[in-house]
């Protein structure tokens, strides 16, 4: 059965379907529907909702619930996510699972409350201090929010690592019909957690920590984390390719921008133009292999973002700069339209004709 809900509410309900039983957050636009939904829904399923005094407190409450073995989530938007970075670094260092939602808005600073994709660097480069990575998933529709939210809890538990769901104000606020079907869920809240703190009954006491003062201890932790990140990159990279076999130009876009780009691609295909698209679904790990394969076949890339150019760097790195990579972006609430992308594309397209 299909229901009509907004993205923030869909994400909240999907997390509950995934077994999330702890949520803490601090109000910020454009994600306020999410905590409001949680405040009503969590008590119904025997979970806990807390409106925290700050983002710092919220992420650390999640830290507490997570180390106790509970599936836990917090959500915010750009300025609030900056405040959570300390906590995310500690989650990574202590190897605790958690899901963090960022419904991006314009920045820097207080910016505005319009949708944006300008936290890509922060999300994929670490954000907080130290040698760590977080998995970053970018849904492009409300149905995909359901799927990726459930997947994110599985990933967080499987790899004992923070996972970020990176959306934007549009995805959070828009309404679409979705199927919320707990029958088809892939989520496995039953993953055995033999590392949690629950009182040392019939076992040796456990410690959760990220301080390693002994000679070489921290380097060993970091090496182990890197092995884990390599495994994640090998097994959990996700992307969607459209017309990958015969395109001369490939548009690269994620999330909301991939929806606009898809329309452009389909429109141009109808005119017989050989344009395709790569949509990264996991932003970290980034679909480098898929890009490399495409770079063997196509002439050029055009990256489209609601930012001044962030993911474009990963595209260049992914293809090792073997093909020209163009960029079109708008930021601060500006949204590249189909016409604008089309214009940009046609300029590049005609210059590549013999």
């Amino acid at each position: 059965m299909k229901v009509l809900m907004c993205g923030n509410e869909v994400l909240a309900e999907a997390s509950i379907m995934a077994g999330c039983r702890f949520y803490a957050g601090y109000p910020i636009t454009p994600q306020n529907e999410l905590p409001a939904y949680m405040s009503r829904r969590m008590p119904e399923v025997g979970g806990v909702f807390i409106q925290a005094e700050s983002e710092l407190a919220a992420i650390n409450m999640v830290f507490g619930a997570s180390l106790r073995g509970v599936r836990a989530m917090t959500s915010s938007s750009s300025p609030g996510i900056s405040l959570k970075q300390e906590g995310i670094s500690y989650l990574a260092g202590c190897e605790l699972p958690a899901v963090i939602v960022n419904m991006m808005r314009g920045g820097p600073g207080l910016g505005n409350i319009a949708p944006s994709q300008s936290d890509y660097f922060q999300a994929t480069r670490g954000g907080g201090h130290g040698d760590y990575r977080q998995i970053v998933l970018a849904p492009a529709s409300l149905q995909e929010i359901v799927e990726l939210t459930m997947y994110s809890f599985d990933l967080a538990d499987r790899y004992r690592t923070p996972v970020m769901i990176l959306g934007d104000g549009i995805l959070g606020q828009m309404m679409e019909p979705v199927v919320l079907n707990p029958e088809s869920r892939s989520s496995k809240p039953g993953i055995k957690k033999d590392w949690i703190l629950d009182g040392c009954k019939n076992r040796a006491p456990r410690v959760i920590k990220s301080l390693f003062l002994g000679e070489g201890e921290l380097e060993r932790l970091n090496q182990r984390l890197q092995l884990k990140y390599r495994k994640i990159a090998e097994e959990e990279t996700r992307s969607e390719v459209l017309y990958g076999d015969d395109s001369t130009i490939i548009l690269v876009a994620y999330g909301t921008m991939s929806r606009v780009s898809r329309n452009v691609v389909e429109g141009l295909r109808k005119q017989g133009k050989k344009i395709g698209m790569l949509r990264p679904i996991s932003l970290w790990p980034f679909p480098e292999k898929e890009l490399k394969i495409l770079s063997e076949k196509v002439d050029k890339f055009l990256v489209v973002e609601m930012s001044c150019g962030q993911m474009v760097e990963d595209v260049k790195l992914g293809i090792e700069c073997k093909r020209p990579v163009h960029f079109y972006g708008r930021s601060g609430g500006g949204l590249p339209t189909e016409d604008e992308i089309m214009r940009e594309l046609m300029t590049i397209y005609s210059s590549s004709l013999p």
Partner: protein
Amino acid sequence: MDTIFSKPDSMKDVPTHYCPGCGHGVVHRLICEVVDELGIRESVIGIAPVGCAVIAYDYWDFDVTETAHGRVPAVATGIKRTHPENIVFGYQGDGDLAAIGTAEIIHAANRRENITIVFVNNSLYGMTGGQMAPTTILKQKTATTPLGRDPKREGFPLKVCELLSVLPGVFYAERVALYNPQNVLKAKKAIRKAFQNQIDGSGFSIVEVLSQCPTYLGLSPKDAVKWVEEDMLKEYPLGVFKG
């Protein structure tokens, strides 16, 4: 032969890293004695702060987590709310609780979180080299108040028990000290009460322990203890502020 004095079961049999005359070892032990006496070792979860006591888990023989600086009450909230059957306590210093974590402690208390906080106030930052703490007393010289704390420049000593006791969410707030055996026993009684309150579901309990840091007071262990009794006590009167 009867054993009349021994190491608490909850305390590991290892030497601590604390400086000679430091109060942390005593407070660690008091907590372990209380945990043993209340029979809660298998349900207790301790939370270590950032500061000298960060590696308290090397001495406590039960489940312990570390946290980011000042976030102990938030982490405690996440644990206790999801699993009220666990006995959750936070161990915080004056920088952790009264400076960087001021928001977290006030709001955890105000939410009436059913947790126990042991707050060790030694009037300065020990781990980073003896800088001024919010609780540094007036005229006290520290690494960052070389001329002595001047209220015109650095403001006033922060009185945590007085501040928290006005909140309806606080069930119990007491200030104790360690400067003589009688007061150590009183400190233990207060810590025990703060744990018992949690077992009874009474709400937020805090015990502020005035402690001594001979190293950064620049005093011998004996004189440091005397300093707490003669100078620190004037600023921080002992007693029950609530409960």
